[in-house]
């Protein structure tokens, strides 16, 4: 237990420096001082992993100097307070954690230090004042500074964790340092990488063309007839985009949830053969660049597509363009997003306690009644989260409505063209994005209300060896009937895609050729240079693989950590935080891409043109799936499991790792698979963030598609699909199975 303040171990001076007391504080204080005294304060070097600065004038050269020399040598006097806020907490080292001064000192210096370090970066930028009005108030300045480097980064990290340790010492979050730190960490990250860029672009909605703030303009735009019009009820004109989007989102959300549930039930609760095959086949669409599906659908159902040609030949029905419009969007989106619902639901369906089902049966409920009254309601967190994901994804998706939407206008396409169209109108884009967010927010609260405060814990600390009740026949048949068309469809589409890579011109000239693969992926052996990666695609291929492999574990980790915080901890502003985490996911990628450039192209955080910005963008765009899957799975775990671990002396981090994580394996797989795959197939945000050194596969493929080189695009996509299949296999192998000790349990 904590040593009282007068114990010999902690006499004044630096008494406990080698004691294990306050170890955490020493660690972060040390890191912060290291950042201040040793590492370059600014990031004026050649890239994050470039160490040119070590030999190129460090430590005295202006751009490479550490914080302390920036103050003393380069006259950057405004950094003095940083030193002050770093000195103060040294005194806390001599106090015990229960001493009120300890908490106060850390809160004060950590909080103010963090706020100061960050805001000075914003106030003084690359060209002097960060905001124009500062120049008006203080007059022009000669001073300037670059983006933050290693030094500033470590100092900020140190301040942040000092602050959270102060909070923990005050008893916040049950005094748990790890959880306090995690919450602080997640909030700061979400604020910087979600709220800041999104806010940066949404602010456009209040500005007119000259950049003045005009609220009435905003009102005029947001109530505009083109958004909310109801003409489709009174005439043959179309309704406002908002209604179109809403209808599409709800339909896709419902359909993907039902399909996902059908697959989850089939795989876990029936004696069906070939489960592995069904699982893989149902996941196929998630691993495809979206426009490839759209293209395949056109070749299949378009006016000149196989189905229409057949109908004309067999029944004389003239081919029509029925695919284009809501129908086409629905088919494509349901194909694309069902796997996500499936991933979320499979763990949830499987975790429903067999005993509860058995209990229901002993209470004279039939299998049918048991399913409807016990099993299904216990799956609610999964159903709600699957629906939410489907709804949001559908609203934010822009590729499918673009290719298949025809005259059916939705918010995401309108937003895209408001930004990049001939009539560039970022204000309108921001307004539309706000409308879209209003829908997301509504869906978010609707699912909250639907779940209510009920408990869905079905994995408790009491061993439960029961056998899952076999699915009632009726339900099983319903599941088969729902899933079968989807399966057939996705197999046909995939057959076509693979086929498309091996023919001269997909959809027109179908003679076999390997030239697309050769153009993209040829290897050449030369006596002089050894192996040459000649194919045009190799460069973007390796970059994509690397960026995806880096971002996937970080995304899953941060997602599950956030889920843990949201499910298991209580803190002020939790609901707002939860909604903020979904912002970057709910908004179309185009908006995010532009927002990221606006926010991160200038100091203090200048990361455009690097691989870092891609990784960061993927993390925060894909994290919500990890969060939703984590929340759904975690609400099935009895909280007394973590509490037991805590009272047995395990830290929260250990508890998370040893108790929760093994029980969350299906959610972990879902998060990893999703984030890896999404990083490989995402387009819209990426278009704006790729750079010469970091070109991504999808932006390359899109370039090919834009100019009609479908063969090349599809050959490349097919290779990506294979890579992703292999990656999914590896992920499953690496994460392993969840052991619940139930007699029959199927794992994803």
């Amino acid at each position: 237990m904590t040593t009282p303040s007068f114990s010999p171990e902690t006499t004044p001076g630096f008494p406990g420096i080698f004691s294990k007391d306050n170890l955490n504080l020493k660690l972060w204080l040390g890191i912060a001082w290291l950042g201040f005294l040793i590492l370059p304060w600014y990031a004026a070097y050649d890239g994050f992993w470039s160490f040119i600065w070590v030999t190129d004038g460090y430590p005295t050269f202006d751009e490479y100097s550490p914080g302390i020399l920036q103050i003393t040598m380069h006259d950057r006097w405004w950094l003095w307070p940083v030193a002050l806020f770093l000195l103060l907490p040294l005194s806390a080292l001599s106090w015990s954690k229960t001493d009120p001064r300890y908490a106060l000192t850390l809160l004060f210096s950590g909080g103010l230090g963090f706020a100061f370090t960050l805001s000075q970066g914003f106030i003084l930028g690359l060209h002097g004042w960060g905001w124009e009005f500062l120049g008006d108030v203080f007059g022009p300045t000669e001073q300037k500074q670059f983006g933050m480097g290693y030094g500033a980064l470590l100092v900020c990290g140190g301040f942040l964790f000092m602050f959270t340790q102060g909070l923990a010492a005050r008893g916040a979050i049950k005094g748990d340092v790890f959880v306090c730190g995690s919450i602080g960490f997640c909030i700061v990250l979400v604020a910087i990488f979600v709220f800041f860029p999104v806010g940066r672009i949404l602010i456009n909605s209040l500005q007119d063309d000259e950049g003045n703030y005009v609220f009435s303009l905003f009102l005029e735009k947001i109530t505009s007839h083109s958004i909310w019009g109801l003409d489709c009820f009174s005439s043959n004109l179309s309704c406002g985009v908002a209604w179109n989007s809403l209808l599409m989102g709800v339909l896709v959300g419902l359909a993907t949830t039902v399909l996902g549930l059908a697959f989850a039930l089939l795989v876990t609760r029936t004696g069906m053969q070939a489960k592995g095959f069904v699982r893989t086949a149902s996941l196929l669409p998630i691993i495809t660049p979206p426009f490839v599906i759209g293209l395949a659908l056109i070749l299949l159902f378009g006016r000149a597509g196989a189905v229409n040609v057949f109908l004309e030949w067999a029944f004389g029905i003239p081919p029509s363009r029925w695919l284009y419009g809501l129908t086409g969007i629905l088919i494509a989106q349901i194909l694309a997003f069902t796997p996500i619902a499936f991933l979320v639901l499979i763990g949830v369906v499987e975790a429903v306690s067999p005993s509860m089902e058995e209990a229901s049966q002993t209470l004279r409920a039939s299998r049918w009644q048991t399913f409807w009254t016990v099993s299904l309601p216990l799956m609610r967190p999964g159903l709600a989260n699957a629906f939410l994901l489907g709804f949001i994804e559908s609203l934010a998706d822009f590729g499918n409505p673009l290719v298949l939407g025809g005259q059916y206008e939705v918010l995401s396409t309108q937003i895209f063209f408001a930004i990049v169209g001939a009539q560039g109108d970022p204000g309108m884009a921001a307004v539309l994005a706000i409308v879209l967010l209003m829908f997301t927010l509504t869906a978010f609260y609707a699912q909250r209300r639907w779940l209510g405060k009920k408990s869905y814990a079905t994995v408790t600390g009491k061993g439960d060896a029961g056998v899952h009740v076999r699915l009632p026949k009726r339900v099983a048949w319903m599941a088969y009937l729902t899933a079968a068309p989807f399966l057939i469809m996705s197999l046909v589409v995939y057959g076509m895609i693979i086929f498309g890579g091996f023919v001269e011109t997909w959809g027109y000239k179908h003679n076999f050729t390997l030239k697309h693969y050769i153009a993209e992926f040829s290897l050449h052996w030369s006596e002089q240079y050894g192996l040459l990666w000649e194919g045009a695609a190799w460069n973007s291929f390796w970059t994509t693989l690397q960026i995806s492999a880096i971002s996937a574990p970080l995304t899953a980790g941060l997602g599950l950590l956030t889920a843990y915080i949201l499910v298991r901890q209580k803190f002020w502003g939790k609901d707002i935080f939860e909604f903020l985490t979904m912002l970057s996911f709910a908004i179309p990628g185009t908006v995010i891409g532009v927002g990221y450039i606006l926010a991160f192209n200038v100091p203090p955080i200048e990361i455009t043109g690097t691989g870092v910005i891609l990784v960061v963008c993927f993390i925060f765009r894909n994290m919500p799936t990890g969060i939703r899957a984590g929340i759904a799975a975690m609400s099935q775990l009895d909280p007394s499991l973590d509490e037991a671990s805590l009272t047995l002396g395990a830290k929260s981090f250990t508890t998370l790792r040893r108790v929760l994580l093994p029980l969350l394996r299906p959610a972990l797989v879902a998060a990893l698979v999703f984030s890896f795959v999404r990083a490989m197939t995402a387009i819209s945000a990426v278009i704006f963030l790729v750079s010469a050194d970091y070109d991504m596969a999808t932006s390359y493929i899109l370039g090919r598609v834009e100019f009609g080189d479908y063969g090349l695009a599809i050959a490349y996509s097919s290779v990506l699909i294979l890579v992703m299949l292999a990656a999914i296999g590896l992920i499953q192998l690496a994460v392993g199975k969840r052991e619940l000790g139930r007699r029959e349990s199927f794992e994803f």
Partner: protein, 355 residues
């Protein structure tokens, strides 16, 4: 039994893992600024990939300057340059419809440069240069027109269209695709061309007539001809070289340069304001206007008309002399005010009409 109050249990390895995790994740949120070193060029390209790469490799070969290339459509590139305004990362922007280049010039995103090669250019290539005070220059010309699917046309027994006014014929009802003028540069060029060709009222009347026959407005300019190539629609309104390209890919597409005369786009190049490698960027513009460089475009199946008088036009390229080009007023129709006015008018008077 004693339990220690410290927070990370060293022997368990949690401590180190935790630190590593935290550090690693923080490491990723850092910064890198492209180098200022001479002999580099950041090049934004808005044509198709092979042409972009050809230009990059050829420029590197001739000058020894290292080129970092990013490819995106012209709308996207303009958006990117606009967003990067406060700290520009690109040096030169080459290719893509002239319209966004004009917009960039008007918004002050590009800077003037008078290349010594200007004298070798066709007059039409110099109009954007004079209209913007030297901020952008023409590199190729693409005439507006349309393309139709020969097989589909024959199957339906429709007459082959030759002029703009042919498209108004009721036989083509639901057989034509074009893009929304507000989302696509191609479609805006169409609107502006019709206004210049038939006068403002006549132009809008034409658009209203065309509207009756449109099956679908697409978002992207080239979507119409791509759909036509695959037999999804009979006629797509598009730049002539786009239609030619589909034909050379083997699709049954016939390109039409309408008989009344037509507008055109001028593919342009601009130097971005605040370019860090200004010298390299200027060298690139000179290079891009050189005759033999422009002659290379046929190698990568691009069939626009080159802007250098001495460049060899690819045989597949539409013969400019056979196309009646109108005197397109880039200064007026490239300005934001006029564009916004025309688009609003189109939305209000054409889009709302029943079809």
């Amino acid at each position: 039994m004693v339990r220690f109050p410290f927070l990370f249990n060293l022997s368990e390895g949690v401590n180190m893992k935790m630190i590593r995790l935290a550090l690693l994740s923080m490491l990723f949120f850092m910064v890198a600024v492209p180098s200022f070193a001479a002999g580099r060029l950041t090049y934004y390209c808005s044509t198709d990939i092979p042409w972009c790469e050809l230009m990059k490799k050829e420029f590197e070969k001739r000058t020894g300057i290292r080129v970092a290339m990013t490819r995106a459509s012209s709308g996207e590139t303009l958006t990117k340059i606009r967003a990067e305004k406060s700290n520009p990362k690109g040096d030169v922007w080459w290719g893509g419809t002239g319209d966004p280049h004009l917009q960039a010039a008007e918004e002050g995103l590009s800077q003037p440069y008078n290349s010594p090669k200007l004298s070798e250019l066709h007059d039409w290539a110099k109009t954007p240069h004079t209209a913007t005070g030297g901020k952008t220059v023409g590199i190729y010309l693409g005439a507006l027109g349309y393309g139709y699917n020969k097989e589909l046309l024959a199957k339906k027994g429709l007459p082959a269209p030759k002029c703009w006014n042919d498209l108004l014929h009721s036989a083509y009802k639901d057989e034509i695709m074009m893009a929304y003028p507000s989302t696509s540069g191609t479609a805006y060029t169409t609107l502006a061309s019709m206004v210049q060709l038939f006068g403002e009222d006549g132009g809008f009347n034409y658009m209203k007539g065309l509207h009756k026959n449109i099956s679908q407005y697409t978002k992207s300019g080239s979507a119409g001809i791509k759909a036509s190539a695959r037999g999804e629609i009979t006629i797509g309104v598009v730049f002539v070289h786009g239609a030619v390209k589909q034909a050379t890919k083997g699709f049954p597409i016939e390109a039409v340069a309408p008989c009344e005369g037509t507008g055109y786009e001028i593919g342009s190049a601009s130097i971005i304001k605040g370019a860090r490698n200004l010298e390299s960027a200027r060298k690139f513009i000179d290079f891009a206007l050189t005759a033999d460089v422009q002659s290379m475009s046929a190698q990568v199946k691009s069939y626009q008309v080159p802007s250098n008088k001495n460049a060899v036009s690819p045989p597949e390229a539409p013969d400019v002399s056979s196309i009646k080009l109108i005197d397109y007023n880039h200064a007026l129709y490239g300005s934001k005010a006029e564009r916004t006015r025309l688009l609003k008018k189109w939305d209000a008077e054409v889009k709302v009409l029943p079809r």
